[in-house]
């Protein structure tokens, strides 16, 4: 599948996030230079982005689907997740209290985007009132920056 672009449209429902993970990990695994651990990281980042997309659709609500576009070009695996939700500003996300603060337990949500940022080599959020696009990029062994 290296060199090919694969598009997947999923209904914006929670039961389809596993399918998105499955497809992305299969495409990532087709590039044999990406270690299993990095495929797991990408899979988790995709799961987080799809969860946010589905919740964004649910908040409006809308029947529009979430679109995933995946490609592996030998140097990197790239996944774009596009939703038709209401958009958000990633710079405006509230900070959690430090983990040593008892108030930290009041926050059960908001861990997805920090996880995405930590797991992939590049992440880009483009958001407007008509939706959000999240581009995730994982460099393979042959595509690591010097």
């Amino acid at each position: 599948m290296v060199g090919e672009v694969v598009e997947l449209e999923i209904p914006a429902r929670a039961e389809f996030v596993a399918l998105a993970r499955l497809v992305v990990s299969a495409i990532a695994a087709s590039d044999s230079t990406l270690a299993d651990e990095r495929i797991d990281d990408l899979k988790l980042a995709v799961s987080e982005a799809c969860t946010n997309a589905i919740e964004a659709h649910g908040a409006i609500p809308t029947d529009e689907r979430v679109l995933l576009r995946c490609s592996a070009d030998g140097g990197a695996v790239e996944v774009a997740i596009q939703d038709q939700g209401g958009g958000f500003d990633p710079a405006q996300l509230p900070d959690h209290p430090p983990v040593t603060d008892p108030d930290r337990l009041k926050f059960e949500r908001g861990l997805g985007i920090p996880l995405i940022r930590a797991l992939v080599d590049e992440v880009e959020f483009s958001s407007s009132g008509s939706g959000t696009s999240v581009r995730l990029l994982m460099r393979t062994a042959g595509g690591q920056e010097a």
């Binding site: 039961e15 996030v17 799961s47 059960e108 861990l111």
Partner: protein, 112 residues
């Protein structure tokens, strides 16, 4: 995709063994089971994550919510996890400092 949740009793603890994938689809079932245990007066809970293949931030949210609920009853929620890919999620989010994480149910019980 399925999530299996089995409860056993062990030395005063309720051990909730989780198997499968924990994500936005399965997390509600996990949350409900934890809430049921607390409602039944089980305030010392060990969640065994050794059978978990995948866990994302919604699963973390369930565990944080469970810990908060138990602490409000002077109880505790201990975790059993040795899988590096699951531990990594706790490490990135700093939650290794919030939860007590053990290598086995035996180790968790012994640390009482």
């Amino acid at each position: 995709m399925d999530l299996s949740l089995d409860v056993t009793e062990r030395d005063g603890y309720s051990v909730l063994s989780v198997r499968g994938e924990v994500d936005v689809y399965t997390a509600p079932k996990f949350r409900e089971r934890l809430i049921e245990l607390v409602s039944d007066g089980k305030y010392e809970i060990i969640v065994d994550l050794e059978g978990v293949d995948f866990l994302d931030s919604t699963g973390l949210g369930v565990l944080v919510g469970g810990l908060k609920r138990l602490r409000s009853h002077e109880g505790d929620l201990l975790l059993v996890c040795t899988q590096s890919r699951i531990l990594k999620v706790f490490e990135i989010t700093g939650l290794t400092k919030v939860f007590s994480i053990y290598e086995s149910v035996d180790a968790a019980v012994a640390d009482d």
